[in-house]
Subunit: 451 residues, 2 copies
């Protein structure tokens, strides 16, 4: 037990690791030292990973997360959006299965006069990604320059793009390290990662959709609540108006899981908001998130008024118009898109039927998401290509009655092998029981606001 | 919250980090994978440091520590000592101030017929190192080859050397990483480090002196007990007979703190075991540790018999003879050593006097140790050179009465500056109070055995 004292530039990093490890509170300046040192190479990765693991175990208060988030934002470019009377509001989802909310929400909120600068991510693991869905629209660009991004918002009220490498490079570096050191699942680190990227894109208010359940990153309401509170309190520390809505992700949202299949369902909802009962949960989540965005922007006094306004934008066709304008503004071809509806399908189409008699009491979103991964909807590793046309369409939703041989879902696959692997997952996904065992659960679980 | 999946050789290391982090129990094979991967470079340091920090937080059971210790031993050479009827027994101390126990203990135990293969360390921080003390003896070599080591034990019953770089290289690599990542203070990692080195040197039984108090690594009895139990249970897992004795390190042991000064005190005890009351605590600890070594070796039935045998070896001069034989066997010059006694002193000698009237109720071992660091007894950093002749001699011990102007200690320094800095530390080290406040505390606190 010899005490080798440390010399050189790593000394102070060591002190800060020990401070965090022993539950001390780092100052803004100390967090800056760690992040800058990591980025400029003066602090080695083995010290940063030890610090990250300490954070995993001891956590961080909102003030420290705020400091970390600020330093991460400072590491790269921030988007300067032109001043407007109404603040820019964005939504972030923690990721789910069948989660095509953004495609309906952004045009609906934009149709209500609130500008939406939306930067989205790609599918990974069992969850889908908005960019992969948008990429199925012929000609549509998800690589907008900052000027194009601003211009598209001017033209149609919202724009959707991927994030440039120059926005929050600290997050990319930290995420890559967390990913290989078992420090991904840390609420403070997740919070700083999410909020830094959203703040850097210029949003002045944020609505978070924190998914909770089998198909979500957060499996329990306690975990979801912890993340939701962390997101909202960190935004408060950064003076960003914020609301977190915890929504259920036990079953897939809506009926489609796939890239183009989800664009189709989104367009169906934009055309006729209440036509398909299988999209009811999707509409409910979208309307609620949209109403909070309107409240956060200050255009309505409360969520009740907001819900009415969003629903009106959907019912009137105003949101659908905004969507078509956006497609055109981002280089997409609306005619080609229309022609693909109901026809853009892969070679294999297999319908899965029920072997049970009763009520669908649950559809496991994780299993459906994994079926999607096997089909090519998502990615096992970040470099995988995704397929645009494959996926799963649910014919039933929880609460529906089924008899033997009733179709419960259809699998769209590129190969028989992929279809077979997906069907294996899907076999265990549908839980049919007697109707006494079915208890409908609210899709909106909890809401945490800092407005 | 995207899930980037990991590819390549770091995947399994990630799984093991997460397993430890989530309080899973690693198998021998999994620990081997981590240690080998670290040593051969296939697992990067940032993963090992994250794993070490997880171990810091969640701990390890004795079985896992046993696996880790075995893998660390396998990383390098192990010494093959010739078979003997009586097992080889060594002692390890967690480090203290004025801790010259080894210099008396090794010859005393050897004089009782038990071979002692002792590999020691150097001073660092406020604690002293046996090798630095031995290096003050003219000609004495602390760099024995394995053959020389065996030969010296044959000649005089014990040998003292530093550890070659080829013994437990995994410990050197791991320690260097722990040192800069805030993972030094982890009982399982400390245990594996200590036991691996002692097992690799060929000891068949071990006695641990776990220091506890202001001048020790473990400040509280709870911490000391945790380490003691971990050491003993890990030895049990490795089938090494072991005893841990928790001894008090509130005040320095004996009266001398310095390299040659401690050789002098050791020789004084070897010459006349009870002559100086200031060495009483040193003798008590030495006799107790020695008696457990004899019990562990099976040459006495119990510690009472062991204490008598060790004390006899000291009183009879047998231990002193063995010490002189050892000096000669390791290339040292006994005549020159004798000539240095009382004369080998640095330029500056300053006596510190009491300004209080009462009883010395405490002498802060940490402060005295830090005074030693300023004088050059120890090292601030591993590459510092130590001075052979400097140090502090205590004229009083806890329980002694002092009046104003009574000498309480003498500082031996190379420079006035060093003396002044040391005296600053020493000023706060002596606690004098009314005799009602003095309560003698036992030097032997607790004992944990696995024999």
């Amino acid at each position: 037990m010899v005490f080798y004292a440390v010399t050189g530039g790593t000394v102070r990093a060591l002190d800060l690791i020990v401070k965090t490890r022993d539950r001390g509170i780092l100052t803004a300046e100390e967090i800056r030292f760690l992040i800058n040192g990591y980025l400029d190479g003066s602090i080695p990765e083995y010290q940063i990973s030890a610090w990250l693991m300490s954070v995993f175990f001891v956590g961080m208060d909102a003030e420290q997360i705020g400091h970390l988030t600020r330093e991460m934002i400072r590491s790269g470019d921030t988007l300067r959006l032109p001043r407007r009377d109404i603040p820019y509001v964005d939504k972030h989802s923690t990721g789910g299965v069948g989660d095509k909310v953004s495609l309906i929400l952004a045009p609906a909120v934009a149709a209500c006069g609130v500008p939406v600068p939306m930067m989205s991510g790609r599918a990974l693991g069992h969850t889908g990604g908005t960019l992969d869905k948008l990429d199925t629209i012929p000609g549509y660009s998800t690589h907008l320059s900052p000027d194009e991004f601003v211009s598209v918002i001017e033209q149609c009220g919202f724009a959707m793009t991927g994030q440039s490498d120059r926005v929050v490079p600290a997050d990319k570096r930290l995420y890559a390290l967390r990913d290989v050191t078992g420090t991904v699942e840390s609420v403070p680190l997740i919070t700083a990662s999410i909020v830094s990227k959203k703040a850097a894109e210029g949003a002045q208010a944020l609505v978070f959709d924190v998914k909770c359940g089998k198909g979500a990153f957060m499996k329990t309401i306690e975990e979801a609540r912890e993340l939701a509170e962390s997101l909202v309190s960190t935004c408060r520390a950064l003076e960003i108006r914020a609301v977190a809505v915890i929504t259920s992700m036990e079953a897939p949202l809506g009926y489609a899981v796939g890239n183009f299949l989800e664009v189709e369902e989104s367009l169906a909802v934009l055309r006729s908001v209440d036509a398909d009962p299988r999209s009811r949960d999707l509409v409910e989540v979208t309307v609620r998130l949209g109403s909070w965005m309107l409240v956060a922007a200050g255009v309505v006094p409360d969520v009740a008024a907001g819900e009415k306004m969003v629903r009106d934008a959907l019912t009137s066709g105003a949101a659908a118009d905004v969507f078509r304008k956006n497609v055109a503004a981002q280089g997409g071809d609306n005619s080609k898109l229309d022609a693909m509806l109901g026809t853009f399908r892969p070679k294999i189409e297999e319908t899965v039927t029920s072997d049970a008699d009763g009520v669908v009491v649950g559809i496991d979103a994780f299993r459906v998401g994994m079926a999607g991964v096997y089909l090519g909807v998502g990615r096992s590793v970040a470099t995988d290509a995704v397929l645009p046309d494959v996926g799963v369409v649910l014919h039933v939703k929880p609460g529906d009655r089924v008899k033997p041989d009733d179709p419960i879902c259809t699998v769209f696959a590129a190969t028989r092998d992929a279809a077979a692997r997906a069907r294996q997952e899907l076999d265990g996904a549908f839980d049919v029981a007697s109707d006494r065992e079915y208890e409908p659960k609210p899709i909106i679980r909890e809401e945490i606001t800092a407005l």
